[in-house]
């Protein structure tokens, strides 16, 4: 199996990481300042518990959600951390440039929530190419994607003035289609019949549930953290009930689509979260609790159906290999969220316009696809350490793996117990 492949990470990864970090520090030195002490800063500090929830979602939630692969846990949780640590610094700068007062970016709790948000986009895209890329590729992707994300977000929020508090469109749709476009450009014909490591093990599925649950639990925070203070309460309520309803339909359809009626962990780990994605754009609107629950129900259903029927088709016909099924967790439910916001705008007509919501959805998909294709082209450069097909989904390419003397290990406890009983 080992082909003598060497990733040459020893030079490339340190050089790239240190170069990026130094460049960022210089830019921080020039532009970034603490928020001055005034009343707005006091209000800002009140967001700190919201920030901490979002922070847990990014590093524990996304990180462990991707540990489901049986031999790729170190990379999933480790590279997730690396990408996010870079991304939040770069995101602070990119988002800051759009709000800059003459040459000064002021940082506060709200800006670090937004910085964490910008990394979410990259982590979603990371899910599409998980196991098939090197950390060097991912750092480069983070830089490009966050730059493009910040532009799209500015367009959606400031130009179109679209409603997207929970970021169904700017984060979930954008991150999913960006990642799918990258994955298309990095298509591997050698993996079209699957790979022996591209599956889960019992314990890796348990670790993934840690990620799922922390995402599920803190999603009401995600969808309300940057809402206007008078709308936060509603955003929390809508997301809480959407997720609960989504969980019921995800379980129901997971059982329904399998011929023996058995539940599939892939659905439980992912489709239960679709309700949080789909209610995002409408989170702070007066869609009523039952409206939020309807959105959640539909999201759970389309997500399970997507995993079961759409992902294989997309792999075969569109040549897009989507490791984590981000299209089903973020793409489709995100589009549902955008459509729900168009409908909500159409029937409510209070402050948001259906046309602008549609424009926001369209440009999020479009910019993501173009930006992702461009980024994928760059990532397909041959010297970026991409693993060969047979070493995909395998930690040992990039990590020192503990040597497990399993036969001895397996029997050790029994051994001791026996001896202790003898003693």
């Amino acid at each position: 199996m080992n082909t003598g492949f060497t990733s040459n990470m020893r030079i490339k990864l340190p050089v790239l990481a240190i170069f990026l970090e130094l460049a960022i520090i210089v830019l921080f030195g020039v532009f970034v300042k603490y928020t001055p002490v005034d009343e707005s800063r006091t209000a800002d500090l009140h967001l700190y518990p919201y920030f901490q929830d979002v922070h847990v979602m990014i590093f524990i939630g996304f990180g462990f959600l991707m540990t489901f692969l049986k031999k790729y846990g170190f990379s999933s949780v480790g590279f997730n951390m690396l990408i996010a640590a870079l991304g939040l610094q770069w995101g602070t700068l990119m988002q800051g440039f759009w709000h800059m007062r003459p040459n000064e970016i002021f940082i506060g709790i709200k800006s670090i929530i937004n910085a964490d948000f910008s990394t979410a986009t990259v982590l979603i895209s990371f899910g599409a190419v998980l196991g098939k890329t090197s950390p060097v590729q991912m750092l480069i992707m983070a830089i490009f994607e966050i730059t493009i994300f910040a532009c799209n977000e500015h367009l959606v929020v400031k130009v179109f003035r679209a409603a997207d508090t929970g970021a169904s469109m700017t984060i979930h749709v954008f991150g999913a289609y960006f990642g799918l476009a990258v994955s298309r450009l990095l298509y591997r014909p050698g993996l079209k019949n699957g790979h022996e490591n591209e599956g889960s093990a019992y314990h890796s599925d348990m670790f993934a549930m840690i990620g799922t649950l922390f995402l599920w639990l803190f999603w009401p925070t995600f969808n309300s953290a940057i809402a206007a203070p008078e709308d936060q309460h509603r955003a929390i309520m809508n997301t809480y009930f959407s997720l609960a309803a989504c969980t019921l339909t995800a379980f129901a359809f997971s059982s329904l689509v399998e011929k023996r009626g058995k539940l599939d962990m892939v659905h439980i780990q992912n489709a239960t979260l679709a309700g949080g994605v789909a209610v995002g754009s409408c989170a702070d609107l007066e869609i009523q609790p039952f409206g939020a629950m309807l959105i959640g129900c539909i999201a759970g259903i389309i997500s399970v159906l997507g995993f079961k029927y759409l992902t294989p088709l997309i792999a075969t016909f569109l040549r897009i290999q989507d490791t984590c099924g981000v299209h089903n967790l973020h793409g489709l439910p995100g589009i549902l969220g955008g459509i729900a916001s168009i409908i909500a705008a159409a029937v409510q007509v209070n402050r948001i316009s259906p046309g602008m919501q549609a424009a926001a959805l369209g440009c999020s998909i479009g910019i993501a696809l173009v930006g992702g294709a461009f980024t994928g082209l760059i990532l397909s450069l041959p010297f970026l350490g991409q693993p060969p097909d047979q070493l995909c989904y395998d930690d040992s390419v990039y990590w020192e793996i503990p040597v497990e003397e399993e036969p001895e290990n397996n029997s050790h406890q029994e051994h001791h117990n026996k001896l202790s009983l003898d003693a």
Copy 2:
């Protein structure tokens, strides 16, 4: 071992789950409204960090605490999620009906904390029958138990006006005895000599500690979340110190009751939490820190002794098989909490009455036993997918289990390492 048993979950689970979800959405459409924007809503939003702690306890805490069984991790954490997602919606309605202003249930942070609380009751009962029931049975139990719970809680809090801020009686005693009564009705003579799967493995015990610790850490929130604002501070202090003291005695007695002095993970996972249960009813009373610690000490002791000596007796003589030992974690410490509140009422006589505390304890036990027996009778209907004895405590009845090619898997890392060294 496989008897050709088919759980027929493919039809029953989806039909039941979707039916319940649609019924709930209709009821939400008719009754449930957002809390209007006013000052009380602003105060309500301040409870959000408390809500998040409770939310983590319900889904991570209870979910992972039950993953100790070696082959039942998917079901423990998965069905826990399913039950809770249904329960919190149903609990919103049931508790709302008791506080309804003409045809309107207003939802806010406090009501979703209470909704989460109502699911805790079902999750405690779930622990008593863990591994021996189907998800269909558990959804039905959730509907019945939460309905009865809401009535008992109304009786205890509004009619008796008993002190029970941390819910030693209304949640812990009620959930434990309800579950034990259900377990009695579902008694399996075939399991009276144990079952090969009814034990833990090294890693499953580690996963369970995640549950234990998040419960332990956030228990001060559980016991203070719905306290009056001026009493929250005291409820936090009492619970924090009760748990710390309880941990010391739980470790001490775990070592003491085993002839070689070795600690038992079952005790550490469970008895260390008994201090949180037992101090619940008195959490916001002026019992003084040393009083809280005394309650915690006693709780840790009786919980370990219960696991060691009482559970086997109950299984043999009362024919109640209590998988997780909920009687020792919730039942006995909950009764201790009720008794402590009676004593506190007797010596303090400020605002609570010993008689009412005793009535609250008695009616919580009584209603739980009757309600649990009734529910158990319904759950023993033969078409609800209950697994046969030999397939108890086994995920593979309800879940797709990843095929682990262990021999190959065991050696893979060594293999790679060897090859890499060769290269």
Copy 3:
């Protein structure tokens, strides 16, 4: 491997734990009171979300970080819990004695944050001797170390009036050098060539990442929790960006120091946190975001280099066996933090004095070394249940270990799946 060693924990552990708990309860009864209801208590309650983050760091963060050893997970997370549960009670008393108003120690959220902090010191030292000590030894160490810690902290904060909000010196430097001194006194020549159990397994490294990530995520809280309200905002920002920068250099240097460029989980689990340690003393100072990032960068580098090159030298030449490498995570980065605060004082000259910062650093090291040596001397008494060399790093000395019938277990899922397919 089993030498018939018996730890005799059955008598010693219960007797010691119960004696300590009863003594503490008596002291609480005499001295400890609730904070009276007034405005300061209301402000105190606002720290509750900060407390909960710190609480998670102590029990999940430190507990799981140490589960990396392949056969010592129960002890790591279990004894961590035991030590912390005792330590927070003792810390409440020790820190309270220094702030006592006539015979009264008032407890509140801030005091329980400080109590948790005092346990952090012991848990750091625990890391230095992990796997080589008994729980009886650790309880005794907790009592001594917290007593000495409270004196040193009083000296640094109240006498020298040094800046040390994030406790680089009072907690990290102190805990590391105390633990190293203890480890020196407990030196085991028999382990100088390593031990077969002193390594990680794939899953134990995954569990350890749970600890790493919760420490990383909540470190901004750790460094800001007891800052003055007007400085909390800045302490959060500095720590957030220091950790992010540190993560990049830790990954870079982990790859750089290994000849094939592979990342080492030990570095990722530990060195990524060094930025939080090192920015501690300066956390609330106006060092600017780029300054915080520079500190983080350097911390990540020295931590990786310490693990790679210094730890083996210290083991060989100074005869200090540092199981978790606390010198690299807490010792060196803590000293860096102290030096950074001296430099900050020298260039800022606003309210802190370089001399006092240097005195704080020096006395933290000195008192830790002397106190640790004294404590180590006591812990080397032969009747405290210290395991023999061959049973080090092995849970089975102190815990009932589940008997795993691995061969049967390994094949069970495959077995069931096959049968189900047949059916």
